[in-house]
Amino acid sequence: MNEKLSFQNIADLIVQKADVPKKTADTFAKAFFDTITDTLVAGEETVKVKGLGVFKLVSMGSRESVNVSNGERIVIPGYKKVAFTPEDGVVEFLNRKAVEDEAASVSAVSAVADAPEVQEIPAVVEEDKVEDKAEDASPVETEKTVEELIQVAEPTHVEEPQDAFAGIDMLISTPESVEEVRQQYEEAKARMEVAVEEARKANAEKVRLEKLLERLEANAVPESVVELQGGETKEGEAEAAEKIENQPSGEVQDKTSAEEATEGERRQRAFDRLMNESSRKEEPQETRKWGWQFWTAAVVVFLIVIGFLLYQTFRNIEAVEKVQMAEMPAKPTKYPAKKGKPTITQPTVPVASSSAHKKDSAAQATKSETSRISTPSTPPAQPAQSAQSVQPVSPTKPAAAQKTEQKPAAAKGVANDKKQEKTVTKDKKQEKAVAKDKKPEQKPTRPTSHVMQRGESLTRVSQKYYGTKDSVQAIIRKNKLKDPNNVPLGYVIKLP
């Protein structure tokens, strides 16, 4: 027991077993082990020895470690080693021997003794099984069954990191450009949020105005309502309301005289009146009177502006990405240095901005109709809220608005506006979706920690921050990760 047998002992055993001269046994045993090693050294991957197991050549990758004495980071170079997997029969043989030696009951007892601790709920069946088998058949069999059960649980998570890695490699990019993309993305997001906020306000106002209109229509006593609303709310609303009431046109008289007129008809008429009014208004002073139309127009303007901003930023991002993609295959694994940034940003930014300008002018041209309707109302008559809302979102727009303001507005009705609004909202949705897609690209470059992204492996993280895959072990150690192949999404990794 626990002796260290040498070559000579084995040779002696062979002599006993095979009944051959000592010399033969010696030479044979020597040749036997030499052949195995020679074959492996010659580059053969595996050597199968029947009755013993498989000797396999395994390459160990280089990894990074720390010099214990001075804390320096050192790279342990990769090397080849021989791994040995014993045959099933060998393991069985060893265990059977052990069991026979130590009396059959022991293993069964130990198995059962351990069981109650762990097998809290469902254990009973399994426990019984083990016991029965231990008593009935040989203990080896019980072990076998257990082993079979183990087999089920174990396989599956080996290939995964490799696959994920292949996909991610494409995304490797220079930190600068990533930074830039992120900035752009952040800007776009901020702008979008502001715009959405404004749009929502505008929408709320619109709804309120519509409600007010309805109420006024329904109410028999208009004066009080007008006073109330005018007192609390904005000028535009109040005046719009007043307008409706103070216009004693023929229609209104008709309406009052024809008491049978239904609610729907009345509303329709009021709507028509509003339309007529708004179409008549050409000067800014008068524009304040058609609040309802103004609000829809304001919404349209917002959406257009948002759409353009998003489109611009998206184009920027896309251009940058394209250049990156083109660069990738050339140097995929190397940590991309600062070269990337100027080549990427300088060409793309001017293009994008110029195109944006073009687009803006084009927009002015194409949307002159809508702007004629919408923009006059923008600066003076506007309630404070919407004035604020337009200006921060679009630096180019106010100028355009002022220009078109002086032009006589040819009102075309709401139908056009609605159409435009629809298309613009569609655009906006697309942009939103695109922006969402971009999100995974966002990579924090904080030096001390890293948030795991979808599909990212530790190897990637190591590659990104250290330029080598060898730091994976260091990261794992630093974070005390139990399963390096399965780091939860969003997990914040401390970087050593």
């Binding site: 626990n2 047998l5 046994a25 029947k50 009755g51 257990v146 183990i150």
Partner: protein
């Protein structure tokens, strides 16, 4: 390399008959295994050492049946290559 190839190579190397080689190799393996099962480790110069290793019992959980199982301790064979072999493999 399969077992057959190994034996053929051995037969060439030692100039023994195939039958002889088979008999010898089986007796060699047997003696190694017996030593191992007796708890002794076998160290061969230039090759490495084979030693019996104890695997402790462990508790496993079967997620499909939601049951815990105790895997009994078992013995297996461990191998560690010799420094000489490592040097030979990683020369160049």
């Amino acid at each position: 390399m399969t077992n057959k190839e190994l034996l053929e190579k051995l037969s060439q190397k030692t100039n023994f008959e195939m039958d002889e080689v088979k008999k010898l190799s089986s007796s060699l393996i047997e003696s190694v295994l017996e030593s191992l099962s007796d708890g002794n480790s076998v160290t061969i110069q230039g090759f490495g050492s084979l030693e019996p290793r104890e695997k402790a019992s462990r508790k496993i959980y079967n997620p499909t049946t939601k049951t815990y199982l105790v895997v009994p301790p078992k013995k297996t064979v461990g191998y560690k290559m010799s420094a000489a072999l490592k040097d030979r493999l990683n020369a160049k």
